[in-house]
Amino acid sequence: MLKLHNIHKTFNLGTINEKVALNGVNLTLNEGDFVTVIGGNGAGKSTMLNAIAGVWPIDEGAILIDGVDVTGLPEHKRAQYLGRVFQDPMTGTTATMQIEENLALASRRGKKRGLSWGISAGEKKEYKEMLKMLDLGLEDRMTSKVGLLSGGQRQALTLLMATLQKPKLLLLDEHTAALDPKTATKVLELTDKIVAENNLTTIMITHNMRDAIAHGNRLIMMNEGNIVLDIGPEEKKKLTVEDLLQKFEDVSGQEFSSDKALLG
């Protein structure tokens, strides 16, 4: 479903701030894979996701989604293949527009936007049912502005928007990091549910090792712009946080730096 071949990206090339962010990343995902990604700060996790999403062009390598070479496509054209949820709950939704308008925008991802009405009566009914599934009471507030929602509600809505048009690949960039623990758990449960129901191929970055182990069927660890560990379904079932910490020390030669990952 996804193939990353030898991806290189260096920021601020030739300046004092030069930073090799991705250093020859190779990764192949099969259909239905749910991969969790962990790694220290600056390991290249978000950079890899941004490379896939086309936030900027990569320096070298190739990105294939479902066999299509998308390396040369800008972000808005790649969007037809991708569902995305961001770390900041403000990023994924449009605050000044209504809940149903946001959903309608998302349901037209990858389609031509013409002069027909932005949202149909049939759609509204459909959205109402979907919002009920979120169990956040949003189905009664369809015409409320999204800016009035809490961070957790916005993240749940973004998740729904990302999967409204079934994406070839769902990219979750620490989408629960800005939420309180209770809300984060709820959004993660919702993530599992939506991914399972739609059999979505998913990449989820997290700082939380327990979440990384508990979710998905595959786990990769990144360090210094490369994938240093790739754990498959069988091994992952038996994995513990201690194992992971040990492995991290082994591959990186340093202790895991983020307290959040240990405490979370």
């Binding site: 808005h76 990023t91 939704t93 449009t94 527009m97 037209r108 027909s116 009405w117 932005g118």
Partner: protein
């Protein structure tokens, strides 16, 4: 002396001038509707409008005086305004020039273009010779025409910004990261919005030149400030009258009402014998005040000064209690 001044103010003169102010407000309402697209929906302060307003006036007058049907002339003027908007859009989206600078560049270029169109710095058009759409000669008819124009445009805008494309433009203006992730080409949305906006501004210029009976290369000077005044005054009134319930069509209607209020206020200060040379200064002050008030109110509720005062009081209380305990 004050007494003499008061006596010299003739209420009838004010009442007589009122319809003309309202008609002018309606014509500028069209301009304010155009500016609303960029300023509010796209979040793009577009200074092109000072130039495209005059372009609209110039094209309308020159085409009409050379024998063209006045409606066709107005249509061509609108298209010319759209071309101006496209220039600004291309400068910004294709060449990476910041919005304000891109607008200024087009605006200053249009000054030369407008001089060429007018073949001079101004050109008169007489309602006696040409079948104009509106004229200050017949103010009642001008008001009705202005109302029809604004009403139709509000209806069209209400429809358009509810369509898939219009929604995409609004998303681009509010959250470009989100709209990109949803597959919206932000650059193209900006181009479309700038075209539509400047098209309306030029249409307003075309109507204005007919209303006043001439086009002038300087007729757009400070247009953006007048348009902003209309938008902001309209929004303040809309919020106080309708509160949060106002839908998009109502908000647009209040933008036009804002333009009318602005010209009535201008009528009042002229009636009060303010030096006409001070009008632009006055406009700038009005807009600055209306922009500053919401900010200052928010500051008042949430300022270090206030926090400092409260902390001083709290510390005093604490001191008293400690003394008592001793």
């Amino acid at each position: 002396m004050f007494f003499n001044y008061m006596v010299a103010l003739n209420p009838i003169a004010f009442v007589n001038a009122l319809p003309s102010n309202i008609a002018q407000g309606l014509v500028w309402g069209v301009m304010a509707l155009g500016l609303y697209i960029t300023f509010r929906l796209l979040d793009f302060a577009d200074l092109t409008v000072d130039g495209s307003l005059a372009t609209g006036g110039a094209v309308t007058v020159m085409l009409t005086t050379s024998g063209c049907n006045v409606w066709v002339a107005l249509l061509v003027a609108t298209l010319a305004g759209m071309a101006a908007g496209l220039c600004t859009g291309v400068l910004h989206t294709r060449f990476g020039i910041p919005p304000i600078l891109a607008g200024i560049l087009t605006q200053i270029a249009l000054f030369s273009v407008n001089l060429h169109i007018l073949d001079g710095s101004n050109k008169a058009i007489s309602v006696d010779k040409y079948a104009l759409i509106l004229s200050s000669r017949n103010v009642t008819a001008a008001i009705i025409t202005g109302l029809i124009f604004c009403g139709v445009l509000i209806a069209i805008m209400y429809w358009y910004f509810g369509t898939e494309q219009g929604s995409a433009i609004r998303a681009t203006g509010c959250n470009p990261a989100m709209s990109k992730a949803q597959g919206i080409d932000n650059d193209n949305m900006k181009l479309i919005a700038l075209c539509l906006s400047n098209g309306l501004v030029a249409m307003s210029g075309g109507l204005l030149s007919q209303f006043q009976g001439f086009a002038d290369v300087n007729m757009g000077r400070g247009a953006i400030v007048i348009g902003l005044a209309a938008i902001i005054i309209g929004e303040v009134f809309c919020d106080s009258v309708l509160g949060k319930k106002a839908n998009f069509a109502m908000r647009l209607s209040f933008v036009v009402i804002g333009a009318i209020i602005y010209y009535v206020v201008i009528g009042i200060v002229i009636w009060l014998r303010m030096d006409p040379n001070d009008l632009k200064l006055f406009t700038a002050v009005i807009v600055a005040v209306f922009l500053a008030v919401p900010y200052l109110r928010a500051q008042q509720k949430n300022s270090f000064k206030m926090a400092g005062k409260k902390s001083a009081l709290a510390l005093k209380e604490l001191e008293k209690q400690e003394k008592k305990e001793v």
